[in-house]
Symmetry: C3
């Protein structure tokens, strides 16, 4: 009924249920918000493919920025990454993240395609 | 399988899937949190109707306030807006928003009625 | 179609729809983040049982900490609470909460088992 992939004690990276996949909050490596967003969205890609979904099937994305001053730089990466005609519902707010070096975290819910 | 309305490159205002509608984070115009909350919830109304849902069918609402000092003022508008007997699950926390003038953002997931 | 439990004007503590239960954001009593997290997760337990779910069926959890310095202390309680093999997708960020004494809030979406 519930399928979990990359499941550890604290969290599962992928949880599938009822035609929907929930990813744990994704962050990225890099010195700048641009690098971190690119790496973060690459991880989202990888996890969604593994789950049986894709970036074209995201339903809802919540983006946390450590500093809203990074809004435009994050969006430049985001806008290029979203497939044309397949943008999700999205919200973006400022939240300090678990590690002070982290600039961006993305929380994704997507539809399963298979 | 996924239906999107008001879809642009960055986000879709409405995403429908599996009997559920996801709205992008809604903000409102106005000088005060009261005005912004009223305008924001009016936009939620409009989008939910367009999606085939309504404020009586909200499942989950997440509210971000730029300043928790606005909690009571936001709630006064919220409490009057929620239909009796149809309140959603809700959470409210403080998060700076994309634009410094924004006081409140509401993220809504609702059930489709048709 | 939508079932609400402990429903007041502002919010419902439990909203059930389409095999999924949405809980309103849960906080806890206590002087420390450890005590608050324990109390908060106890409330989650209680509400999930009442809804026809359990901590072993959580799909997605969002955790807001008033101060990310509490990350390790919150996680110690969290890690002991999550059933082995049943961890949800999770995200954790910093957000001031409605009341200045609150250190942690947990927002849970879970699968219904009956």
């Amino acid at each position: 009924m519930i399928e979990r992939i990359h499941s550890k004690q604290r969290m599962s990276k992928i949880v599938k249920h009822g035609g929907v996949v929930y990813l744990c909050g994704q962050v990225g490596d890099g010195a700048t918000v641009t690098e971190q967003t690119e790496d973060c969205l690459g991880r989202v890609d990888h996890l969604l493919r593994e789950a049986g979904s894709s970036r074209a099937h995201i339903l809802q994305a919540t983006i946390w920025l450590a500093d809203t001053a990074d809004f435009d730089a994050m969006n430049a990466v985001w806008d290029a990454w979203v497939p044309e005609g397949a943008a999700p519902a999205r919200a973006c707010g400022e939240a300090k993240l678990a590690d002070a070096e982290l600039r961006v975290e993305v929380i994704v819910t997507a539809a399963l395609t298979a």
